[in-house]
């Protein structure tokens, strides 16, 4: 990798710059088809959600873990750390302060990773479309795989959304991590446009 591809990490202080890697994300080309299909099947059957309640949607995730809806039967469970999880749920509106944390957590997750959004607020701003503090389109900042409708989406519709997500993963349509790597400069420019005090590394991993 030539030195011009390296990320500048401008926001960090000089002491901190030594601690963080400067390499941008890389495009991972798929394996031969039968192996990739098998891998996709395996990925779709073990979806680990990052336990980060970013908005109101988090309230309906709690009933999902109980015996009544029981998302464990679909191979879905909650993980506490981004390193172990593969699904990021953006639960409703995202304020600018939260978006910074969302980006940071999302980049720390290991690929392949999938993003699910709940409700209309991440799609077009929803009822907070004219608010000064909530973003309107999250797909300009992160690659989105599936959006689940409802305010709040009922546990049943969240489960239905996950079943749909599984189908998409098995068909090899969920390639968010690669999309993010490919259009990294565009996503980063959009993020930096609204996160004014960028004091974290350009790519956190």
């Amino acid at each position: 990798m030539s030195s011009k591809d390296l990320l500048p990490n401008d926001g960090l202080s000089e002491i901190d710059q030594e601690f963080f890697c400067q390499a941008p994300p890389e495009y991972i080309s798929p394996l031969p088809k039968p192996i990739e299909d098998f891998m996709n099947w395996a990925r779709s059957e073990s979806l680990f959600i990052l336990a980060f309640g970013t908005g109101c949607g988090a309230i309906e995730l709690r009933p999902l873990t109980t015996s009544r809806f029981d998302m464990y039967q679909y191979g879905i469970q909650m993980r506490a750390t981004p390193r172990q999880s593969s699904v990021f749920i953006v639960g409703g509106y995202a304020s600018v302060k939260t978006l910074k944390r969302i980006v940071r957590s999302y980049e720390q997750m290991q690929g392949p990773k999938f993003v699910v959004t709940l409700g209309s607020c991440p799609i077009n701003g929803g009822m907070y479309w004219d608010s000064y503090n909530t973003i309107n389109r999250i797909d300009h900042y992160l690659p989105i795989d599936i959006s689940i409708c409802g305010c709040m989406p009922r546990p049943e519709s969240i489960l239905a959304g996950f079943v749909e997500l599984k189908k998409m993963i098995r068909a090899g349509q969920c390639d968010g991590a690669n999309l993010y790597a490919k259009n990294f400069a565009w996503y980063k420019a959009n993020q930096k446009r609204i996160i004014k005090d960028w004091n974290m590394p350009d790519y956190n991993w």
Partner: protein, 189 residues
């Protein structure tokens, strides 16, 4: 009765009894601290419910409201205090109640009022750390315009005035002057 007593020492104006348990009045800025201390220590108004600032842009003032509550008589006092909008400064009362500091931080970031000596005043409470716009609760800050300029809008959102839209969709033949008359009359109960 208590108000009569207070009036002997303070300049109490614009007294308004909103309901049985709630009275509003205004005192000048200089007497505010003494007023709060008197009510708290001598009249048992020990609970501060909230502090809120209203931007009265047409009068050129910020109207601060301090809501005090008495647990013995279950009575509330809403105490107004007008401060100049251009030179927005107020005395800090963080020594009277601990939570006042939090409210003053909020007022500082939302209306841009300076409270001299209040702890951690410069830290943003709810806006993000890099906020560079004007204080958002001021009346001259247009949140829709800010949102349009800052965030990406999804195309396809159309705004209708609900009144006009319903009139056009539901009663297209009804004369407009007549419906205006009805609407303006219907506003009163």
């Amino acid at each position: 009765m208590m108000l009569e007593k207070l009036k002997q020492t303070f300049t109490v104006t614009e007294v308004k009894e909103q309901k049985k348990n709630l009275t509003f009045f205004t005192v000048p800025k200089e007497q505010m601290e003494m007023m709060l201390i008197t009510l708290r220590d001598h009249h048992d108004y020990k609970h501060l419910s909230f502090i809120v600032g209203i931007d009265m842009i047409e009068d050129g003032v910020f109207k601060l409201t301090y809501m005090l509550y008495n647990y013995e008589t279950n009575h509330s006092f809403g105490i107004h205090c007008n401060i100049d909008r251009e030179k927005a400064e107020m005395d800090s009362f963080h020594h009277l109640w601990e939570q006042v500091g939090t409210y003053q931080r909020e007022l500082r970031e939302m209306l841009g009022i300076n409270f001299e000596g209040s702890p951690r005043l410069e830290e943003n409470l709810s806006l993000d750390e890099g906020w560079d716009g004007p204080p958002p609760m001021r009346r001259d800050f247009d949140t829709k315009e800010y949102s349009n300029n800052t965030y990406f809008q999804r195309e396809g959102r159309v705004n209708y005035d609900p009144r006009e839209y319903m009139r056009e969709q539901l009663y297209p033949t009804f004369p407009k002057t007549e419906s205006d008359k009805l609407l303006n009359g219907g506003g009163k109960k």
